[in-house]
């Protein structure tokens, strides 16, 4: 119930789909509904499911389902890790804590149900694949279901399938080493073969799906292109294949001898590593992102991370080596992936997507860590005090799910009715004046939605590596306005303004900034720039719009 309430809150509050990516996705569905071709860069499943809903219920009902029903449905996508937790064979585990984390952790609330995006669907099938893989240790026939859900992950979301590929690869390498070094058991060999088949299915189906997507919009292809440009990559990969399983299996054997006092060290170290260190690094390298980093990392570092680490350590101590590898191998590879992606120029910003997968995967361990922590409290007073303190941490995890722009790098996620009208009218004006429309990614998505992707929108949505041709983006970066062409409509919203803690949203890998007062004064007072429309939250500007139109007449 809590999970559903949290996820439906922005929809009920704003009456519109929350987030702006959903407008971009829905615009593609509207084009598909017209029988036209459009690329589906994440994978086709999300789009075709939505298309089926649209065709079945009609446009108005489809929108209502999208806004008010789908957040509730997506809430159920958090369940696979809960069932994994229920399968723990330790008496101290309380699966309710895992469910609590899944329900309230900010990134999970946001990405699974808070905003309706293909990633939510991808996470569901990612989670199911992990669950079925785990069940395959009891009965190998569950691997068939893991293959099926793996295929659906491919169909759903490009980054999810990449994470699933890493998950199965890490298990394959680690269990292969374990098989060769410690336990030559037929059941394990069969499992290895099935994991290998699953990896092949993922690769083959990914290749097929890539052909359906716009190449320059598919994250996997872009990652692949970037990575293959690194000369030493084959060497790194080969070294990793040999060293990784050793680095996983042997330390787990060491961890089994770890002292019980790990709890104190964990709960002191984790806030330092999870909060102090990122904050310090952010202040040095990207001080403008400090409010965002603090907003998200403080709750996670205090309320989630210590219990997850404690849970991992204790799980490795108390469970079998085979069982410990199941969690340690993928988590370690996800961490390596994160460091690697940070180092890739232009791709380091993908790092903001990875924590969701890591947290989703690690929630059973966090729940387990919290369970153990609660069992170690030896008086009612301590239980009360700890319960109250950790309740506030849990609250902070939930309350940081939908940040305001000043805590979200200037991004205002909600879209208003007035901005929808602005986009509709901008499109109408663009047809009247035969003009292009210059606006940021946020309003561009809304523009694509209202125009069914027909609007002539300037901007670099798909051109990741070119300099920006957007006047708004350029002036937001330099702070200096310059003259723009006569056939461009500038669509400005208060969400882009510096005085409202806003930002001109550009592709995440490219520079952008807020519109300062100098730029606004230029638009308001430069001779020749008409202010065509005002919707209270935004305005349209254009140079000499009527002159050309009247001359044409």
């Amino acid at each position: 119930m809590l999970a559903m309430l949290l996820r439906i809150t922005p929809s009920l509050k704003y009456g519109l789909p929350y987030g702006f990516d959903i407008y971009e996705f829905t615009s593609r569905i509207l084009v598909l509904n017209e029988g036209k071709h459009v690329s589906m860069p994440h994978g086709p499943l999300f789009y075709y499911v939505q298309l089926a809903i649209l065709k079945t219920f009609g446009y108005e009902m489809f929108l209502n389902i999208l806004i008010f029903i789908e957040p509730l449905i997506f809430t159920f996508f958090i369940l696979p890790p809960y069932f994994i937790s229920k399968g723990f064979k330790t008496s101290e585990n309380e699966p309710i804590y895992t469910l609590l984390y899944l329900a309230v952790t900010n990134l999970l609330v946001h990405q699974i149900g808070g905003v309706i995006i293909p990633e939510g669907l991808g996470l569901l099938f990612f989670g199911l694949s992990v669950l079925f893989m785990r069940k395959a240790f009891e009965d190998w026939r569950w691997m068939y279901l893991a293959m099926v859900s793996g295929f659906f992950t491919v169909m759903s979301h490009h980054l999810s399938v990449f994470q699933l590929f890493l998950f199965f690869s890490s298990l394959f390498l680690s269990y292969l080493y374990y098989y060769v070094r410690y336990l030559r058991e037929r059941g394990l060999l069969r499992l290895l073969a099935l994991i290998l088949i699953t990896i092949i299915i993922l690769l083959v189906s990914s290749n097929y799906i890539w052909n359906l997507s716009g190449e320059d919009e598919n994250t996997l292809i872009l990652l692949f292109n970037m990575v293959t440009k690194i000369r030493l990559f084959p060497v790194i990969l080969l070294a990793g294949v040999f060293l990784f399983p050793i680095a996983i299996v042997e330390p787990i054997r060491f961890l089994k001898k770890f002292e019980k006092s790990a709890s104190r060290k964990t709960f002191i170290l984790m806030p330092i590593i999870g909060m102090v260190l990122p904050s310090f690094l952010t202040m040095i390298f990207h001080p403008e992102a400090l409010p965002t980093i603090l907003w998200f990392t403080i709750p996670i570092s205090l309320g989630f991370l210590p219990f997850a680490i404690y849970g991992i350590i204790q799980y490795c101590r108390k469970s079998t080596l085979l069982d410990s590898i199941f969690f340690m191998a993928p988590l370690t590879l996800f961490m390596i992936e994160a460091f690697f992606i940070i180092s890739l120029e232009n791709y380091n910003v993908l790092i903001h997507r990875l924590p969701t997968f890591v947290i989703y995967f690690a929630t059973p361990l966090a729940g387990y860590g919290l369970s153990l922590f609660s069992k170690e409290l030896d008086s009612i007073k301590k239980e009360y005090l700890a319960g109250m303190i950790i309740a506030y941490f849990i609250f902070s995890l939930a309350a940081s799910s939908f940040p305001k722009p000043e805590f979200a790098y200037g991004v205002r996620e909600s879209v208003s009715y007035s901005e929808l009208k602005l986009a509709e009218d901008a499109y109408a004006y663009s047809i009247l004046f035969n003009a292009k429309i210059d606006t940021d990614i946020r309003l561009g998505a809304v523009l694509m939605f209202t125009s069914h992707r027909r609007a002539d929108w300037m901007g670099n949505l798909t051109s990741w590596f070119l300099p920006s041709n957007s006047w708004l983006v350029n002036v937001s970066v330099t702070g200096e306005p310059y003259s723009f062409k006569n056939n461009i409509i500038i669509m400005v919203s208060s969400s882009m303004r510096e005085i409202y803690h806003g930002r001109v949203i550009n592709l995440i890998i490219k520079p952008s900034g807020p519109l300062n007062e100098k730029v606004i004064n230029y638009l308001n007072n430069c001779p020749g720039i008409d202010r065509l429309e005002d919707v209270q939250e935004g305005a349209l500007y254009m140079k000499h719009p009527w002159k050309k139109l009247n001359q044409g007449k």
Binding site: T9, E383, Y384, Y392, Y417, K421, D425, N525
Partner: protein
């Protein structure tokens, strides 16, 4: 340690944690709803503009996209060389404008009203500006080069440059 003691361990913590965190989160959700802004809005746009020797004619459209009647004052202002529009996060200020005319406009819920404006601008006029003030009691006491300051949440304005 007795089994019943082991089984009871952490039970009070669990109840405290679940109840307290649920309570705080429900409070948070209630706060979020209390912060909801009205969804209705008024908008204004120029839908036509012609300039010839007879003067300038502008067609304005004001839409009331809310469920309440809108009553406000429409100012038509002439801007000269030294006219400027400034804004901060709360106010618009219009300096160096001459108020050509003002009238009270009422717009019913979901209604769009088209207003035709025809005028002979006169020498030195560089731009024509229309301000719709949503506060019907706002009236500028003068039509000369005064500073006009209007709250942003009560004002809509559009402009066109002439000549």
């Amino acid at each position: 340690m007795r089994e019943d003691e082991v089984n009871g361990k952490g039970a009070f913590f669990k109840k405290t944690l679940l109840l307290m965190s649920s309570f705080l989160i429900l409070l948070f959700i209630a706060y979020e709803f209390s912060e909801s802004l009205p969804r209705g809005f008024v908008s204004m746009k120029i839908i036509g503009c012609e300039e010839d020797q007879q003067g300038v004619s502008i067609n304005l459209s004001i839409s009331n996209n809310s469920s309440r009647k809108s009553e406000g004052v429409l100012f038509i202002m002439l801007g000269y060389d030294d006219s400027t529009v400034c804004e901060n996060n709360t106010f618009y200020s219009f300096t160096g404008f001459k108020v050509f005319n003002h009238s009270v406009i009422q717009i019913l819920p979901r209604e769009e009203k088209v207003i035709k404006i025809g005028l002979m601008p006169g020498f030195g006029v560089k731009r024509i500006l229309a301000v719709y003030c949503l506060n019907p009691s706002f009236l500028s006491g003068t039509n000369s080069y005064d500073l006009i300051v209007i709250r942003k949440d009560e004002a809509l304005w559009v402009q066109t440059w002439i000549g």
